[in-house]
Symmetry: C2
Subunit: 205 residues, 2 copies
């Protein structure tokens, strides 16, 4: 059996560590790159280094940005009294892509997950509570808990709800992002948990 050149093996190993890329895809990608122009590979290497150098975490909402404060927190047209709490920065992009949402965000940096040793203290929950305390004096605010509808996401949402309720301020409205059948779905193939959620979450029309 022949050994692959070391630099190829190294790059395959680097690709393999990415989520959703197994050994076969990794080597396919590397052999594809071998046949691409050097400029493209150099550009990719440069971009890789750039994201670590240029991307910072917003001091207010913990989303990604290029300065101290992200463009959403910095936008005076955004309603600072509606905070959408999400797991990751990529979720901010998902919600921004639908357009229409005019509030701001708070990125937790994950969810409570005892199996992976992630507790509430590892997330930006204290920061959220502090942020809420600071703005709640100015009148009614809304917190939209938009963690994923998974077991961990639900538990995290519930935990945050309790923490915010303990502030015992009646001006905080807490909501959970809607859960039910996705658009285009078929009742027949929906799983029980989703269907049960869809029934609970029914709305008058």
């Amino acid at each position: 059996m022949v050994e692959l050149p070391k630099s190829i093996k190294n790059l395959i190993a680097a690709f393999e560590r990415l989520p959703g890329i197994g050994p076969k895809s990794a080597s396919r990608l590397v052999f594809y790159l071998l046949n691409t122009p050097e400029s493209y590979v150099a550009e990719m290497a440069r971009s890789l280094l750039a994201i670590k150098k240029e991307i910072k975490i917003c001091k207010t909402c913990f989303s990604v940005c290029e300065g101290e404060i992200c463009s959403i927190c910095d936008d005076s047209e955004r309603n600072k009294k509606i905070i959408c709490v999400v797991e990751r920065a990529i979720d901010v992009m998902a919600i921004e892509n639908i357009g229409g949402y005019k509030g701001v965000y708070h990125v937790l940096g994950g969810v409570v997950n005892p199996l992976e040793h992630v507790g509430p203290d590892d997330l930006k929950i204290d920061e959220l509570v502090k942020r809420v305390e600071e703005i709640v004096t100015d009148g009614e605010i809304e917190i939209i808990l938009a963690t994923n509808p998974t077991m961990e996401g639900e538990a995290t949402a519930l935990y945050i709800k309790k923490r915010l309720e303990s502030l015992s301020d009646k001006n905080i409205k807490i909501s959970r992002i809607g859960s039910g059948l996705p658009m285009g779905a078929d009742l027949e193939y929906a799983d029980q948990a989703t269907l049960s959620r869809a029934m609970d979450g029914r709305r008058e029309i």
Copy 2:
């Protein structure tokens, strides 16, 4: 709608150009990389540049290598009179991984594909014919045509067969890699072309 920071957009664009990676996977990979240690991203960037700097094409078989000649062509234990003709360097690795094959390789660099303007002259076919001419004087040789069993791979194999036959040397044995049902397959679900190949390729046991 918020704009993603430029360095993130650049890296997403770079990932999107890879085969099998769409816009959604690309941004998922980039946001994953944002949360990894800088050392890993730096290592990945270094490996990317290294493959272009350190990897060369073997002068004999056109596979990838680190010197002038690849380790297979350079191995005196390999039978230089059996040449397995493959489309790409990654196919060499696939055959090497099964072990057992003791001949050498010839990497064409693709297949004849008129739709993508790839003709026989764009492949290393002339080089193969020259290579065969050089060694055939020493006695019988075998050429295994192991291009993929696709329309283009078949056409390329047929073309090479004709070119080699025109050498009108009786010492050249030309074979095509076996085609039929893959291991673990189910007759019921096999497509007609594969099943027809499997019938044609039946062997006495």
